[in-house]
C-alpha cells in the first residue's frame, strides 16, 4: 500500500486533517450526548435524547433550515438560468462579468450586516420609502428582517449564491452547446418559448442537479446569516446548536451535542447519496 514515502505522507495528511477530526468530533458529540463525558454528566443515560424530543423544536429547526435553503436556492437557480439564457453573452465578458461576481467578495457576515442595514425597519429602503412619501412612520414599513417569512435571510442567501449559479449556468450554456440546439429547434419550427422550456431549461437543470444538492447541503448548516437576520424562533440548526451549547442552561449542553449528532448523520447520509448516485466527479 505504501510503496513510496510520498504515499505515507499523503495518507497521514488525509488522516490527520480530514478523517481524524471527523471521527473525534463525532465521537465526542455522541459520548457527551449519552452522558459518558462532561463534568455535570453522571454516566450513560438516554435522558438528554428523550428531553430533546419532548417537544418538536429540533424537528422544526431542521425543516426550517431545509426550507430556507430550498427557498433561496430556487430563486438563485431561476434568476441565474434566466441570466444564462437571455444574457449569456453579456455576462461572459465586459462590465457585467465583473459585477456579477461582486457577491463573491462578501463573507456571509458582511452580507448579513448589509441587508440588516438595508432592509431593516430603520434601514435605507425604509428611509427611501419615507422620503418618497410611501410610508409615514417607521412602523408602516414591512418587516423584512427578523421577520415571520424569513425574507431577509432568503434575500441575503440569494445574493450570496447568485454568482455561483450564474457562473455555473453561463458555463454550462456554452459547454452543452445550448445555442446550437435551440437554433436547430427553431429552424425545425419550434417557438422561442418552446425551445427555452423544452430544451434549455431541462438540460441546464439536469446537468446542474448534483451541484444544486451539494449547495443545499452546505446551506442547511448556514450560521451567520440566520444568526443576524433570523427570528428568535424557529432557529436554524447551527444557531440552535450554538445556543444549546453556549447559552443559559448548563444542563442543555448534552442536548446541543445530540443535535450535532443528528445533524452530522443527516448531512453525511445526504452527501453519500449524492456522491454515490452520481458517478461523475464534481469539481468545485
Amino acid at each position: 500500500m505504501f510503496k513510496k514515502p510520498i504515499n505515507i505522507i499523503s495518507f497521514l495528511l488525509l488522516f490527520v486533517f480530514a478523517i481524524l477530526p471527523l471521527v473525534l468530533g463525532f465521537g465526542f458529540a455522541v459520548a457527551y450526548s449519552f452522558g459518558l463525558i462532561g463534568v455535570l454528566n453522571k454516566g450513560f443515560t438516554l435522558e438528554n435524547w428523550l428531553a430533546l424530543f419532548e417537544n418538536n423544536d429540533v424537528v422544526i429547526s431542521f425543516i426550517y433550515s431545509a426550507w430556507l435553503a430550498i427557498a433561496s436556492l430556487t430563486i438563485s437557480v431561476v434568476v441565474s438560468m434566466a441570466i444564462a439564457i437571455n444574457f449569456n453573452k453579456k455576462f461572459s465578458k465586459g462590465i457585467y462579468s465583473y459585477l456579477v461576481y461582486m457577491p463573491l467578495a462578501f463573507p456571509s457576515i458582511v452580507a448579513a450586516f448589509f441587508f440588516a442595514q438595508f432592509l431593516g425597519n430603520a434601514g435605507i429602503l425604509s428611509r427611501i420609502c419615507y422620503q418618497l412619501g410611501i410610508i409615514d412612520k417607521i412602523q408602516s414599513f414591512p418587516n423584512l428582517i427578523n421577520d415571520q417569512y424569513s425574507i431577509g435571510i432568503i434575500i441575503a442567501q440569494f445574493f450570496l449564491s447568485l454568482p455561483f449559479f450564474t457562473l455555473l449556468y453561463t458555463g454550462l450554456y456554452q459547454t452543452e452547446r445550448i445555442d446550437d440546439y435551440t437554433k436547430l429547434a427553431n429552424s425545425l419550427g419550434a417557438k422561442n418559448r418552446q425551445s427555452i422550456f423544452r430544451i434549455s431549461i431541462p438540460i441546464l437543470f439536469k446537468k446542474s442537479f448534483p451541484n444544486i444538492v451539494l449547495y443545499f447541503i452546505f446551506k442547511i448548516g448556514a450560521y451567520e446569516v440566520p444568526l443576524l437576520l433570523g427570528r428568535s424562533s424557529p432557529e436554524t440548526v447551527s444557531v440552535l446548536a450554538v445556543r444549546k451549547l453556549q447559552k443559559f442552561n448548563l444542563y442543555d449542553i448534552p442536548q446541543g451535542y445530540a443535535i450535532a449528532v443528528i445533524y452530522t448523520i443527516i448531512i453525511l447520509s445526504l452527501l453519500m447519496l449524492v456522491l454515490k448516485t452520481n458517478k461523475n466527479e464534481y469539481d468545485i
Partner: protein, 414 residues
C-alpha cells in the same frame, strides 16, 4: 463497519479519560487559602505580575465604557503596573461554558484570568467549582469596601465567601420618552392598558436586562420581594410564573413585531428606542438616560423611572477562574479596579456610570470631595431616588428558570 469500530473505540477512550476527570475533580477541593501563591506578600505579587498579560472576559455592550477601558484604563494599567490588559468579549453564559470546557479538558493554564460576572453566572460557575478563591481578603483596596453590606455580601441571595470582588452596583430602571408617553406605565396592569392602546411599541431583550424585567413582574405577581426571598422555591415559582406567561402570551400580539421575535440584547432595544420603533427601554443604572442623551442617541425628553415592585438592585463582581494562568496579574488588576480612584472614575457618566462599591464613610476627605464633584445626571433619576426604591435580587435559579421558560412557554409557543 471499520469506521463504526473506530468511532466506538474512540468513545471508549473518551469515556476512560472522562472518568479520570471526575476523580480529579472530587479530590480537587484543596483549601485555596494554603495556596503558596496567596502566601506571598502584596509587593511580591505586584512584582510577579510585572510584565505579564491579564486576559479579562467581560460583557462589552456599553460603547462608552469600552472606550474608557480602551483609551484610559488599559494604558494606565500598563504604565503603573507593567501589565498588559487584554479584553475579550463574553457575557454570562459564554463565560460559564468556556470555564466548563476547560474544566472538562483538565486545562491547568486557562485562557482567562479574570471575569466580570454576577448572579446566575456566579451560581453556575460555583456548581462546577470553576472559581479561584477566596481571594478578596488579600486585596489592599478591600479596606474601602464593606463586605458585610448585604448588597455586596449576597450575590442573588448567595454568599460570595470571598470568591468575588465587587466592581459595580446597578439598579434596574425603565426608560421612556416623556414627550410621547405622558403617564408611564408602572404596574403590569398599566402596561396591559398601554399595549392595547399602542400596539407594536414595546419589546424586551433575550439577555439579563430582559430577564430582569420578567423577574420584576414575577415579584409583582408574588406581591413583593419579601415573598421570594431566600432559596429558590419551586412551588412559588410555578404558581407565579404560570401567571406571568399567561400575562405575556395574551398580550404579546401587542408587542414589537407582534411578539414573534425578540431582540438578542438590550443594545438593540436602545437602538430601537432611539429610532422610535419602540417607546421603552430598560437598563441597569440610573445614569443610562444621561448617557443615551449625551451620545445623541436618545431624545432629550427621555425619562427614567422605577416599576411598581421596585428597582432590582444588584452588584456585579470580578472573579478569577480556577485555572487562571496569571492569578497574580488578575489580583493586581482587580485590586486597582476596586480602588477609590478607579471606582470614582468609572462612576463618571462620561465613562461607565453607575454606583461605586466603596463605603463612602471609609473614604478620605479628599477622595470624598472628588466623588462628590462628579458630574451629576441631568435627565434621569438621582441615585438617591432610585436607591429609595431598591429591592434585592431573588435567588439565581429564578433567573435561570425565567430565561428557560420564556423560551419554552412564550417564544416557542405558537
Amino acid at each position: 463497519m471499520l469506521k463504526l469500530k473506530t468511532i466506538l473505540s474512540g468513545i471508549v477512550i473518551l469515556s476512560v479519560f472522562a472518568c479520570n476527570n471526575d476523580r480529579k475533580t472530587a479530590n480537587g477541593s484543596k483549601d485555596e487559602n494554603n495556596d503558596p501563591m496567596m502566601k506571598q506578600s502584596w509587593e511580591q505579587i505586584e512584582q510577579k505580575a510585572k510584565g505579564s498579560t491579564v486576559t479579562w472576559m467581560k460583557w462589552t455592550g456599553d460603547k462608552k465604557a469600552n472606550k474608557y477601558i480602551d483609551d484610559i484604563l488599559i494604558p494606565r494599567i500598563k504604565n503603573r503596573f507593567g501589565i498588559t490588559l487584554k479584553i475579550i468579549p463574553g457575557q454570562g453564559p459564554s463565560i460559564v461554558s468556556s470555564i466548563m470546557s476547560e474544566r472538562e479538558a483538565n486545562v491547568e493554564k486557562g485562557q482567562t484570568d479574570m471575569v466580570w460576572i454576577n448572579g446566575e453566572t456566579f451560581f453556575q460557575i460555583q456548581q462546577i467549582k470553576g472559581l479561584y478563591g477566596p481571594f478578596t481578603y488579600k486585596l489592599p483596596s478591600s479596606q474601602y469596601i464593606n463586605y458585610e453590606d448585604p448588597i455586596i455580601k449576597y450575590d442573588f441571595q448567595q454568599d460570595i465567601k470571598g470568591y468575588e470582588a465587587p466592581w459595580g452596583k446597578a439598579s434596574f430602571i425603565a426608560l421612556t420618552d416623556g414627550a410621547k408617553v405622558k403617564n408611564p406605565p408602572v404596574s403590569m396592569q398599566d402596561f396591559e392598558t398601554y399595549w392595547k392602546a399602542n400596539p407594536g411599541k414595546f419589546t424586551l431583550s433575550l439577555d439579563f436586562t430582559g430577564y430582569t424585567l420578567l423577574k420584576t413582574w414575577l415579584i409583582e405577581l408574588a406581591g413583593g420581594i419579601d415573598n421570594l426571598k431566600g432559596d429558590f422555591d419551586q412551588k412559588k415559582y410555578d404558581k407565579y410564573s404560570a401567571q406571568l406567561w399567561d400575562f405575556i402570551n395574551r398580550n404579546k400580539k401587542y408587542f414589537w413585531k407582534k411578539g414573534e421575535t425578540f431582540p438578542d440584547n438590550a443594545v438593540t432595544i436602545a437602538q430601537l428606542y432611539a429610532t422610535g420603533e419602540v417607546n421603552f427601554g430598560f437598563s441597569f443604572g440610573f445614569t443610562a438616560v444621561d448617557k443615551g442623551i449625551k451620545e445623541g442617541l436618545f431624545p432629550k425628553t427621555t425619562i427614567g423611572y422605577v416599576l411598581k415592585p421596585g428597582s432590582i438592585h444588584n452588584t456585579s463582581y470580578l472573579a478569577i477562574p480556577f485555572n487562571a494562568s496569571n492569578k497574580e496579574g488578575a489580583l493586581v488588576v482587580i485590586n486597582y479596579l476596586l480602588s477609590p480612584e478607579a471606582q470614582i472614575e468609572k462612576s463618571d457618566i462620561n465613562n461607565g456610570g453607575g454606583t461605586p462599591v466603596f463605603d463612602v464613610s471609609k473614604l478620605s476627605p479628599e477622595l470624598k470631595a472628588k466623588y462628590d464633584a462628579l458630574e451629576k445626571p441631568k435627565y434621569g433619576m438621582t441615585e438617591e431616588e432610585v436607591l429609595a426604591k431598591a429591592i434585592v435580587e431573588p435567588h439565581s435559579m429564578y433567573m435561570i428558570k425565567v430565561a428557560e421558560d420564556f423560551r419554552k412557554k412564550v417564544i416557542d409557543k405558537k
